[in-house]
């Protein structure tokens, strides 16, 4: 099991456009990636490719989240997803 933490960089938090960009990237992978808020049990983690799950996660600007995935290429995939979370998409 690979694991990464990321700090939400979008000023609006992880919803609207930033969530759409992230869910789409997670959905394009051949892996199942989960997301949870830091400190919450792994069992409560949600499907990272579900925009509806991301919205109900309610992660705000500056919150730390944990991404988890298993399988070949998991480390590279998670690194890519962390980069998306740590970019302020509204500033682009």
């Amino acid at each position: 099991m690979s694991e990464r933490t990321a700090t939400i960089a979008s000023r609006v938090g992880l919803h609207a456009r930033p969530a759409a960009i992230f869910a789409e990237a997670a959905g394009d992978l051949d892996l199942e990636v989960t997301i949870a808020k830091a400190g919450e049990p792994a069992d409560d983690a949600m499907d990272a490719s579900s925009i509806l799950s991301l919205m109900s996660l309610g992660a705000s600007f500056g919150d730390v989240v944990v991404l988890r995935a298993e399988g070949a290429g998991a480390d590279e995939a998670l690194d890519k997803l962390v980069k998306i979370l740590e970019t302020d998409h509204d500033a682009e």
Binding site: V12, G13, H15, A16, R17, A20, A23, E24, G27, M46, D47, S49, S50, I51, L52, S53, M55, S56, G58
Partner: protein
Amino acid sequence: MQTFSGVGVAPGRVLGPVRQMPKPVQEPAPHAPGAADIPADVTVESQGRRIKDAAKAVQAELRARAIGASGEGKEVLEATALMAADPMLVKSAIRLLSPEAPGGARTAERAVWEAAATVAESLKALGGYMAERVADVLDVRARIVSELRGLPAPGIPASDVPFILAAEDLAPADTATLDPTKVIALITSSGGPQSHTAILARALGLPAIVAAPGVDGLDDGTEIYLDGAAGTITTEPGEDLRLAAKAWATQASTLAAFSGNNALADGFRVPLLANVGTGADAVKAADAGAEGVGLLRTEFCFLDRDDEPSVEEQIAAYGAVFAAFPGKKVVVRTLDAGADKPLPFLTNADEPNPALGVRGYRTDLTSPGVLERQLEAIAAAEAAHQAEVWVMAPMISTADEAARFASLCSAAGLRTPGVMVEVPSAALTASTVLREVSFASLGTNDLTQYAMAADRQLGPLASLNDPWQPAVLQLVKLTVDGAAAASTVLAGTAAAATKPVGVCGEAAADPALAVVLVGLGVATLSMSARALAAVSTVLATVTVEQARNLAVAALAAPSASAARQTVRAQLPILVELGL
């Protein structure tokens, strides 16, 4: 030949085929326990596949539409497309197909319905921005269920040829996806003159008739003629009506120009201003000849946000409007949140009676500081530009509130404070309210709703919700008279200058009513930029004396329709131009 009549809300005479807005999707019936209507060859697997296929089809359709869209509309469509085939939504719907699911197996339609309802509930419970996305989830649900049933997708129909859109009523979400190059007019069986349909039609310059019972039953493709000023719809139009539509098309193009210097027939000046929300609106309004801005709706800078925009963001947003009108008047309305414009960080969504709740200026009671920061931003933007900036507060009810607002403006360095007159109490006590501030602007939409105690959005109350109601015209007169009295009382003091009263509600865009308002003593009229040419053309045909006589006649009329008819009968130009 068949005729329908309703309330004309935007003028124009056009001819074209009708397309009906699909009916709202009906809730799929829960599967009764023990019922045998799920055939044996229908398995959990086959139903699951149907759900996945339907979700993918809806997603593909929304993606295709997103490609053709731009700006904010494109983003909304892309996000909704992602929701349509959301793995969590699809999985929880498929779980409900199983006989082991709590409550037993569901049909595919019912499973999607319930799964989306659960998601919507949880988003609603989160409040704020998430709660606002509930509408998107329910829209996606309606689309998937329609797809499963083989029915047309809800929403505005796609068409290669221009058409007249018929509906029971349009929702704000429908209006966001309306393509003005395809839709040439709007007709609804419900809705009122201040409904979203009406406001959208005026903003887009589309002829429209609301509250016309029966039009939602017209067959797709039926050719109709409509007259948006008269409020009439005719099927199987004859040669005379075809010529009328053709003549309108020619006139509409000549009407499109406004000189930018509005005056009555005798040279009496009545500046025509524009209602705008953004810098882009302001540039368009300036191009259309607007002599300034009579209403800058600052909430556009606040909507769709979870938190208050910074002072810097606000300075940039207001500055973009001021830049379009150097040396001209720009009247800024401070934040008007609440009722139909809720803001998560300012207003409470649980009020039992939002129109009578903490809205407009009143949000300063519950969220102090937001208004002061906004005034600070307005003052800073004014300093950076050449526009002549006036500032007014919405929903002022008393002279005390007006005085407090004026002192806040003065503390921020803003020289010209004013009030919106939308609450009947402010109109009734205008002579004391206007002693505290420099001007007033009548917001006729809310003033009508409050004077008549009739919700703006309700079709059955359309005839009450009419700014031609003699009671509303009386309130306009009381405000103008009160402003004059306030100026007299203060004679000899520094504050003695004339206190002008403007109108910035939809009433100002009705050319016949504009004549009456001028006759009642209104100094400026502010409207959608599209209405400027028509209003100016009609005002140029009357003298101030004639306008005053028409105002007296309208005030004396026993009803809104009598007032309208009496005035229209004296303004032959309206019929000539199809206004």
